[in-house]
Symmetry: C2
């Protein structure tokens, strides 16, 4: 079933496709098409329910009005919520979103970038994986805007929107210390990426500033690829292996979820026996008994900023990278009350 083309309209109106194109693209005035002809074309177009073929238009103009979005995992609450915000915001500007998940895997990320590229997206929003520096540099050479999300590469000049991960983790660590916990562990992901490094550094600084003992043994790094069971097993092993551990900070929402599950299967009382805080908020954290203290990222604000940065670049490319660092909020709940 063929669609209505500009030719069909031209034929019915008795004018050339050129004229139709001008009118339909709002260039009637500029091109000084007569009011009559203009009206007639408009009428026919709406009657036939003409929809321009975006493929043809894209091929000709080089613009597809599509944004490529690369997240770590669309099933993760943080990324899914963010995707929703960005979808809404992009829609306001007439853009649609083509998405893919990397699973934090560099090869998958590269493949995704390739695909987005030859689908001619107008811009990219990417959650980079490790070793993706060169690919990002290459993408920039493409002259299509790229906005990094959640993390960035310190040595690559690029647009990005992130939160102050150092501060978020520092605040969480300080809070636990101020609450009277004496020996606090951190469970994080095996990753040298800046966001994880900042979280670890921020937390470490807090321990130091509060003069709490903090040895390497109190840091547990787990590979992203572990499955549900293994995460739980590793976390339990860690928690039970540190003598006198009385609190723990989980560096991501899924680690927090696995952590809660692990602690409960150990039969420990969250808060009293072991203080808990996690990065990222989640319905589960809010409604858990006891409710879990967390460092919440301002998801709506992040999403809006990303699209804003991208639209700016799409409309008026600038030389200077836009780099936005938002503040996360420490939400204190029951899991960090010792007694």
């Amino acid at each position: 079933m063929k669609g209505i083309s500009i030719k069909d309209i031209a034929k019915q109106a008795g004018v050339s496709p050129t004229t139709v194109s001008f009118v339909l693209n709002g260039k009637a005035k500029e091109k000084r098409i007569s009011e009559q002809v203009s009206k007639k074309i408009q009428k026919i177009a709406t009657r036939l329910k003409y929809k321009p073929n975006q493929l043809a238009r894209g091929l000709r103009t080089g613009k597809t009005k599509t944004i490529g979005l690369m997240v770590e995992d669309i099933a993760n609450n943080f990324f899914a919520s963010l995707a929703k915000v960005m979808e809404d915001e992009a829609d306001k500007h007439g853009y649609k979103v083509l998405y893919g998940s990397t699973e934090d895997n560099t090869e998958k990320a590269r493949g995704l970038l390739e695909v987005l590229k030859y689908r001619q997206v107008d811009g990219y929003i990417v959650t980079p994986t490790k070793n993706l520096e060169k690919d990002i540099e290459l993408l920039k050479a493409t002259a299509k805007p790229v906005v990094l999300l959640d993390r960035y590469f310190p040595h690559v000049s690029s647009h990005y929107v992130v939160v102050d991960n150092y501060r978020g983790a520092y605040n969480a660590g300080s809070h636990l210390a101020a609450q009277g916990y004496k020996k606090i562990g951190i469970v994080t992901i095996t990753s040298d990426q800046i966001q994880m490094k900042d979280r670890l550094d921020g937390f470490t600084a807090a321990m130091k500033d509060h003069h709490l003992p903090f040895s390497k043994a109190q840091i547990k790094k787990l590979p992203f690829e572990l499955d549900h069971e293994s995460f739980n097993a590793e976390i339990k092993k860690f928690l039970t292996s540190i003598k006198d551990l009385d609190a723990v900070f989980f560096a991501t929402n899924y680690l927090g979820i696995y952590g809660i599950e692990s602690i409960r299967s150990l039969g420990w009382q969250i808060g009293k026996q072991i203080g808990v805080a996690s990065f990222d908020d989640h319905d589960l954290f809010r409604l858990h008994s006891p409710a879990i203290t967390c460092v919440a990222q301002p998801i709506t604000e992040i999403g809006r900023n990303i699209i804003e940065v991208l639209m700016k670049e799409l409309n008026h490319p600038s030389a200077a990278p836009q780099q936005i660092v938002l503040e996360p909020a420490l939400i204190v709940r029951e899991s960090s009350i010792p007694l």
Copy 2:
């Protein structure tokens, strides 16, 4: 920055674009291109890192290798998890996903369908809203496959993949009854859509079969558009208005989440004072104290089936609609233990 085109390769190889196209599309044998020429072209293509422009290809062939996915809300755990499964499955067949959320709003859904259409997606996966029957019929006339998700229209012949909502709700209701709860309420969404109707009907049948009192007052229907606060306020009002209510079934995951929050803010003991079960599973339900009994949808299976149905139709269109009804699983947890 221009990409490498088939012409560039043709020029370098000293052959015509036609020959390049044949070779790169694996038709060298079929078109009896000599081994030499074929090898040469391949080599040049990989050296130049040639990527076919999908827009041009799509314009010519009418195939974009893109699937349009319309969910209710990508931020909802059920749809996000499903999207992830479908993304992975579609990827295996070389398809990418263009998505959008309807918010269960018919106008948004129509707009989305339009956009997906003029972006020339090859097939549609749609979570229909109410009053979308005609639009679905029109889409079918387009000769592009459409697979309905989560719900369908009884009077529209179409492909779909859903779960047995009636049975799921019936089982949940029966379970609560068997546990000894005597007066059970249901909180659902104001909607005549089949999935909500089936859930309500299934639950009602369970009450009847167990000879439990069940009046209209025990049914609370809430509009999808309510905000967080209003959902909680309405649920609290409902729970406190029914005399002797001793259990409640929430017909969707977000209602279950609001429900838990509401019950807790009332200070009631879940399980003992009020039995609770919800449709859909969620990390929160699993890890809540007490853990929440639920009707879990087989998300992986649903996603796989959807893509399978779609791929079948894409490759060998058939007249007969494929209609798949999967079984949800009742997961019994502590929230439905009276004492």
